[in-house]
């Protein structure tokens, strides 16, 4: 750890010096290229003529040092490179080395430590991209190797140093949503020493969990969290605590704001300015002692939403018993305020203040965690189930309130129509979920909720007749299947079939559930006192609005979209904004907790150093050419580009160096070539292209393959690694993302001598930069039209979407493309 600190300081110090030196390089210092040829322990020297290659390289302009060894990415070989940089005045490093990517990283690191900017290194792979795939035609392979080396050297001569920059990062995080996910993430971060602001739109923390009473599969209290590290009274930190006695509010660095929501977000990653609107509670949290005198005098009674409207509450109220903060709140929608003011008179601590106003609080935070959860879908739209029309048709959340010993019926499941205990209960699964008419996805937790409620009822009232109508029972979590087993043992009945209608018989006040028992292939009419709908779980209200304020995306189902579910969970495409819990998808409590920990770690990792250090591999705008068009701001997958007024009435694009990921999709989009990548200049692409096509050495027509640095290049790598073979006339030019490719590049390739052009990128929906591969496809289609107009067969151009494991497909494609171009004959350009 300390070593790393030391080295980063060192490089920072040298960085400044290099910046000046970098400028000198451009103006005065000539490029002195060192070329290092690894023969992979002699393995590829059996195929490639290394003597010829060495002699060839020596003749190339700018090359001042050439070395050959078994390997160059570690050990003695790496020392040769370092020595050449330190003592032989080599200021551009070209290494032909296998072990893709690993070697590139190792060499760049060593070169940096030797005092040279790591971006002045170009690594090419003669083994996997040349020797192995062309092992049957060694002479042709050697000629291709010359072209590849020439391309690398030509590019290296044009390389420019790229500096590191630091951006400030405020070590403070805003957590939106005070349910179990938000509380867990807030606690984690506060324990790690970050300043945390936790905001909740309701007057009380707890979210959906507070209403759920118990959690499966342990049947323990829903509202139980891990004890904060700061709880001095807890023996071990693994202890669990009810949220109201967890000392949650006493965690240092944790600021809890209830009745609050985000209305504006400005600034960027590491330094957001968030405006939070705080609605008045009309009760001073610091003064209220929760004595309950106010409710005894309040004259306004309304159905209690917290208790599924099964009971009434006053206009001044508190959710019992599991709440934070332990202070009453006034419902502004129904309170008569100064017309009445009885609560003000009776309050012994003068806590009620009817003149409280809405406040706006500005928070400066480095990161934001969204934990806004999910809610139960209102199933009244599904007419055949008559929810909202028949009082005895209820949802799971309503049943959960009944099963709460502190709830509206003190733990007894009753039929709301006459409040008599329900003796026959039917559960209906998949209500509004797995249903293309409403929500096509599986809400994932409803099966377990039904099993939980069914067993809780059977346990307390064994005589109750409980039936669950299901399409599929999904018990995929740990211990979940045992839960299902237990329900069967307790006598819960299961009917495979989705009911088509619920009918009410007014004569007996009985509900009749019509369903086909598919296993018996018999139509059933199940009589019930109470029907419980396992309604879908959908995104919380205001999710759309919040996503818009934060500038993050929602998925097709309306939940917050994770950057990549496998590799970057809890991240959004916008750096510094994280998401977790039910806001991403409906989740059970253990998974929510896990997800919250993940978001907290991501936020901490992002902000822990108080700064964000980044290589400036970004896009830069040439303001002289740029003007008024919207292409790049709209296309940038990261929202890194904005249009800024230039003073003379024109607008020019401005790239945020912090947000830009350096993919180059903007470059591929710009119609006037006004934007370019610092790490891949147009001159470098041209030089590489010309060099790759300068030597053929085969009897076949030259084919140039543009490949992205991600899946596309990996497919090229793997075709060599797996000993696939394809002809040596196919030459690969690597770009960061195929999105960088312009139509002009493709035409240029034909001009430079290519008889065919391949574009090899990621899968359209698997692009590492979201849209690059799709944009490239469009560009290819456009270029095909142009080729046709020029009288060139459009079949000479093709896009391929490949991944690492499809090396065989790359080899096939390269062969097929060669054959196709051979068939078409020689391309004659005027």
């Amino acid at each position: 750890m300390t070593a790393r600190k030391g080295s980063s300081k060192k490089s920072k110090g040298k960085g400044k010096g290099r910046k000046r030196r970098g400028a000198k390089v451009k103006a005065m210092e000539e490029a002195k290229v060192g070329v290092f040829l690894s023969d992979c322990g002699g393995q590829i020297a059996k195929i490639l003529d290394f003597e010829a290659l060495t002699n060839f390289v020596k003749t190339v302009q700018g090359v001042t040092f050439v070395a050959r060894a078994n390997e160059f990415w570690r050990g003695e070989g790496l020392k040769i490179i370092v020595d050449a940089v330190k003592t032989k005045k080599v200021n551009r490093v070209v290494v032909a080395e296998a072990v893709p990517k690993i070697s590139e990283v190792a060499i760049a690191k060593a070169v940096e430590e030797a005092g040279l900017n790591p971006h002045l290194v170009e690594v090419l792979d003669l083994k996997d991209h040349c020797a192995l795939p062309h092992r049957d035609t060694p002479k042709e392979a050697t000629e291709k190797a010359k072209a590849m080396l020439l391309a690398a050297i030509e590019k290296a001569r044009l390389l420019e140093p790229i500096e590191k920059t630091e951006f400030p990062a405020v070590k403070s995080v805003l957590v939106i949503g005070g349910g179990i996910a938000g509380m867990q993430a807030a606690e984690d971060l506060a324990d790690m020493g970050f300043q945390v602001h936790l905001i909740e739109k309701e007057p009380f923390l707890g979210g959906l969990a507070a209403k759920a009473v118990r959690f499966f599969p342990t049947d323990d209290c829903a509202i139980c969290i891990q004890s904060p590290a700061t709880d001095l009274k807890t023996v071990t930190q693994t202890s669990r605590k009810c949220v109201y006695r967890s000392g949650f509010s006493e965690i240092p660095n944790l600021n809890i704001l209830t009745n609050a929501k985000v209305v504006k977000v400005e600034g960027g990653p590491g330094n957001f300015k968030v405006t939070v609107e705080r609605k008045p509670r009309y009760v001073d949290e610091k003064k209220c002692v929760a004595c309950d005198l106010c409710t005894s005098v309040c004259p306004v009674e309304v159905p209690d939403e917290y208790n599924a409207k099964l009971t009434k509450r006053k206009a001044i109220y508190i959710n019992k018993p599991l709440v934070y903060p332990p202070a009453y709140a006034i419902d502004a929608k129904v309170c008569k305020f100064h017309e009445c003011a009885k609560c003000v008179e009776v309050c012994p601590t003068k806590a009620v203040n009817l003149d409280q106003k809405t406040e706006h609080v500005t928070l400066n935070v480095g990161g934001i965690i969204v934990a806004t959860g999910f809610r139960e879908y209102d199933p009244s739209v599904i007419k055949e189930y008559h929810y909202g029309e028949y009082p005895d048709v209820i949802t799971h959340l309503e049943l959960a309130r009944m099963l709460d010993a502190f709830g509206p019926t003190n733990g007894v499941p009753v039929r709301p129509s006459d409040r008599k205990p329900a003796k026959r209960i039917v559960f209906v699964q998949c209500v509004g979920s797995r249903d293309r008419r409403w929500n096509p996805y599986c809400s994932s937790i409803c099966c377990m909720i039904s099993l939980k409620h069914a067993t809780l009822i059977k346990e307390a009232y064994p005589d109750t007749d409980v039936t669950i109508c299901y399409i599929d029972i999904r018990t995929t979590g740990r211990e979940h299947e045992y839960y299902y087993e237990r329900a069967r043992e307790m006598g819960v009945k299961f009917v495979k079939g989705r009911p088509s209608e619920i009918i009410h018989d007014p004569a007996t006040n009985t509900l009749i559930v019509e369903v086909e028992d598919e296993l018996l292939r018999r139509l059933m009419e199940l009589e019930a006192d109470l029907v419980v709908l396992a309604a879908a779980m959908v995104p919380s209200e205001d999710t759309k609005e919040l996503a818009q304020i934060l500038g993050v995306e929602l998925d097709q189902d309306g939940f917050f979209k994770e950057y990549n579910a496998k590799l970057r969970p809890t991240e959004t495409k916008r750096r510094g904004i994280f998401i977790c819990g039910g806001a991403v998808f409906p989740k059970d409590a253990p998974t929510t907790s896990l997800h919250a920990h993940s978001a907290a770690v991501k936020a901490a990792k992002f902000l822990m150093n108080g700064k964000i250090t980044k290589d400036l591999k970004v896009a830069v705008v040439n303001e002289d050419y740029c003007g008024n068009c919207q292409f790049c701001p709209v296309t940038c997958p990261y929202g890194a580009i904005t249009l800024e007024p230039k003073g003379d009435g024109h607008f020019v694009a401005k790239v945020s160096e912090l947000i830009c990921e350096g993919c180059g999709v903007c470059v591929g989009t710009c119609p006037v070539g006004a934007i370019e990548l610092r790490h891949l200049k147009p001159s470098q692409i041209s030089a590489q292209m010309k060099a790759l096509l300068s030597v053929n050495g085969t009897s076949k027509p030259l084919v140039l393959a543009f490949s992205c640095s991600e899946c596309g290049h990996a497919a090229v790598d793997s075709s060599g690694m797996a000993m696939m073979s394809y002809p040596a006339n196919v030459r690969v030019l690597r770009v960061p993302c195929t999105g960088v490719i312009q139509v002009q590049h493709i035409l240029e390739a034909f001009k430079a001598g290519a008889q065919g052009v391949m574009v090899v990128g990621c899968k359209p929906d698997g692009c590492h930069y979201e849209v690059g591969s799709q944009k490239a496809q469009k560009k290819v289609e456009m270029a095909k039209m142009l080729l046709q107009a020029y009288g060139i067969e459009p079949e000479r151009l093709e896009m391929f979407n490949l991944v690492f494991i499809e090396g065989d497909k790359f080899a096939e494609a390269a062969k097929a493309m060669t054959e196709r171009v051979e068939r078409l004959g020689l391309l004659q350009l005027a």
Binding site: E384, C430, R434, D435, R436, R437, I471, D472, K496, G497, R498, P499, S500, E501, E514, V515, E516, E518, R521, L523
Partner: protein, 168 residues
Amino acid sequence: MSGEKPLDFTKEITSKLGGETIARCYQCGTCASTCPVTRTTERYNPRQIIRLALLGQRDEVLKGDSIWLCASCYNCQERCPQKVEIADVIYALRNIAIREGNIPAIYTEFANGLMSEGRLAPISKFLEKKRADYGLPPLKPTGVEAIKKILAATGFDKIMFKKEGTPQ
């Protein structure tokens, strides 16, 4: 299921007008439970027809009488959570069956009436007598030539009156 190719039959159905959505079915049984015909006879169950079709039981589906019992009330289609167009799938299956000569007698009768008299419902003696009682003129075949032309142009006559059991 030996000798049958399940995927092929599914593909065949989804390529027909009305049959496109069949593969979405996850066998929840809402259709069967809401069907007025299933309520009255065990010979018809839309869920089972779809199941048999998806399992490639081509002959059982096309040669039985089940698919002809649907009353086209569209209750099932309205309530299907997967938006399988069940009643339309049944129509697609009927169309396949007809092309292969699996035509229930009543449909042949309808077709005959259409071709010979320009009417689906035949003019019965009873009807003629009733008309006479009311002083209405007797019914005559109407527009037969025109209908024949239309039916020939659409290929209906060939489908309907080709030799039975020889698939086209």
